[in-house]
Amino acid sequence: MTAEWFAGLSPAHAAVECGDAIHHLEWRDGSLTAADHEDAEGDRTLAALGGDRHTCLAVLDAWARHEHDLRVLVLASRGPSDAVRVPDEMRMAAGGRAAGGRAAGGRATGWFSYGAAGTAMAASMPRQARLTAGMSQSFAAQAVAGARGRSSDPDDVAGAMQLLGLGGGLPRRLCAHVAAHWGARLAEGDDEASRRRAELHAALHGRVVCAVREWLDDAAVPVHVDMIEPGDDATVRREHGGLHVSVPFRWILDVWAPGLGVVAGAFTLRATRDGAQIDVHGVSPDLSDRHMELSPSAVE
């Protein structure tokens, strides 16, 4: 991974209820930090010794578990037309509480729970209580319960879902982190990245299709997506009544994550940065080339 994979991504924030206070999480330059915990390791140590546990630190831990997790790209939103709703009762069942996010636009809310999946709490509940809780769960929460299997959630699917409910732009930053990690491994010819090529291709496919449909305002247009090698030319062409889009996996990081999929009516094939300037190379609906130079403030 290059040192500046996050160069095109603006900072993001979310608020969580941590103990009796509203605390803020900040993502900046590729790292998530809990600004209200100056001595995070010290707080962790105290919690391990039986002291107060901290929602902020639980978020950081979950983030560390999932920042390379390709399942995040399956669960997360593909774009503005693909709304993801993490259910309220999941956070209640897990002991977390909602608090307002403060991302640009201010419409997201953030929340989190202690622990990976709340399984220890569930296991300690009387059977009837568990049944009652189960009956009140949303379908999403029940789905996670199934994913946990009978007694554990080794993949921490619940944790991934909870991160996606943070709001404040953090879910998209998490996707960017995952994409940066696997994009770099793919570029290096890493065996594991090659083995998981289908996962990478599918993650790219869904996001490209979502952007193309937004671009053309056509929710039914057939789209074929080729995942090309890094350095190959990204293209769009008409084919068999649909569109054939060829872009590298890194398109997720460079184009989709900063919200550049559709810029001024053009579909973005690639976005490169030259200092503070962003060069956007795209195509218009008539497939003519478009080249735009954007300043970071314009992207914001």
């Binding site: 399942r71 199934g146 996606l164 996962e199 449909r213």
Partner: protein, 432 residues
Amino acid sequence: MLLDRSGRACNARPMAAFDAELYLRLAGEAMILEGPNPRQNVGWSSPTTDAASALVAVDALPLETAETITRDYEIAMSLRGDQRSRGAMFRVGRGPQPSGTPFPPARVAVSGQTVETSWGSITVHHVLLGDTSTAMHITATDRSPGGFGMRNIAPVVRDDRGTAMPTFFSGGGGSNGYRGELSGAPALSPSTAWIELDGTRIDLRDNPVQVEVRIEELEPSTPAERHLRQLLASSGPGPRFANPDSIEDVISVLVACGAIQPEDRAIKEVRAVGSAMQGRNATDPDLPPRWRSVMSRSRNPFPGYHDSNDGGRTIVVGAATPAIDGAYVRVDALIVSAQAFAVEVAVSPGHALGPGGWGPVVGGESLSWWAEDDRGNHYLGTMTGSSGSDDYCRSTVQFGPPLDPAAELLMLQPTGSAHRAVVTIPIGEERA
């Protein structure tokens, strides 16, 4: 590959080497982009589960991989408002499923007697008396004020040797009555002449009919052909009850992975059956003969659950089959009424009953329940309820259309992938 709006692979462009995992994941992406509930009221079926099952059936994708992918996309769908928690249905990481074990010999005796109690009534239809277990197939009506339900019914049952067996109920029902099994331990004497339930003696009668059981080999077929045919005939709630799109989705994936040719006879057959199920054409020449028999005798051969014990008569069968492609079946009783007939069965392993029973949503071959009478009529069974475990599951399989009143013999045919059992049950002499 190019997928159309429904996620079905288009054949417009030639494909290079087929990538089964990518195909399944792109089907999942198409489902996500389509939004919640691309299909309504389809049991466990979805574009990803259908594709996953097909790919596993033809060995194009390992079961574990298919289940993991399908589960993840089902969870993703539930985050988008899909009103089914199908992620809970997958068995990822639970290890291999058990193999079947033969059923030990057991005596099946018939009763039909009703016992009145302070809270309602219990009708004992038949009793399974094994060396280590005893089970009574019952229906019950709860008339107590407020209705406590069957969860509170746990009578002690005694035999003529003085053995007392506390029982528990497993089954289901509601305000119209309950239906299921009372079982317990220690087992009652297999040779007891009567049992006593709540102070009332119930006489037991043995099976007067001679039941013949044999195993037959099926005509050879490819995994893809078997999968297509089983989709329609499976006893669990599958595409038989679904949007016909699901059949086309499965055909698409099997063709795409090269497991079957587009002009294969099995494809014509399943399309003809699907069309007939939609009420369009029950005389299609591509309808296989037994399907034609089923579909032509009734506009709706599978009208839904009918309680065969309500006014029906019970013929004790008490037969166990040899292995049917690894599964064992015990047929306890045949229940015949004017509207339908049903068999009470036990199956080992449990997953042989299919996804509606104890089986996995993806992978695992379940039995189909065909039957034929001595007048050339065919019948197809649907599981109407089940209980059990991974090792063993019991169920009522209800058949349609209604039994031909002139039939003298019924050949029950639990059918696996390469073999079927034929359990021949005389039904005419009982009627006389």
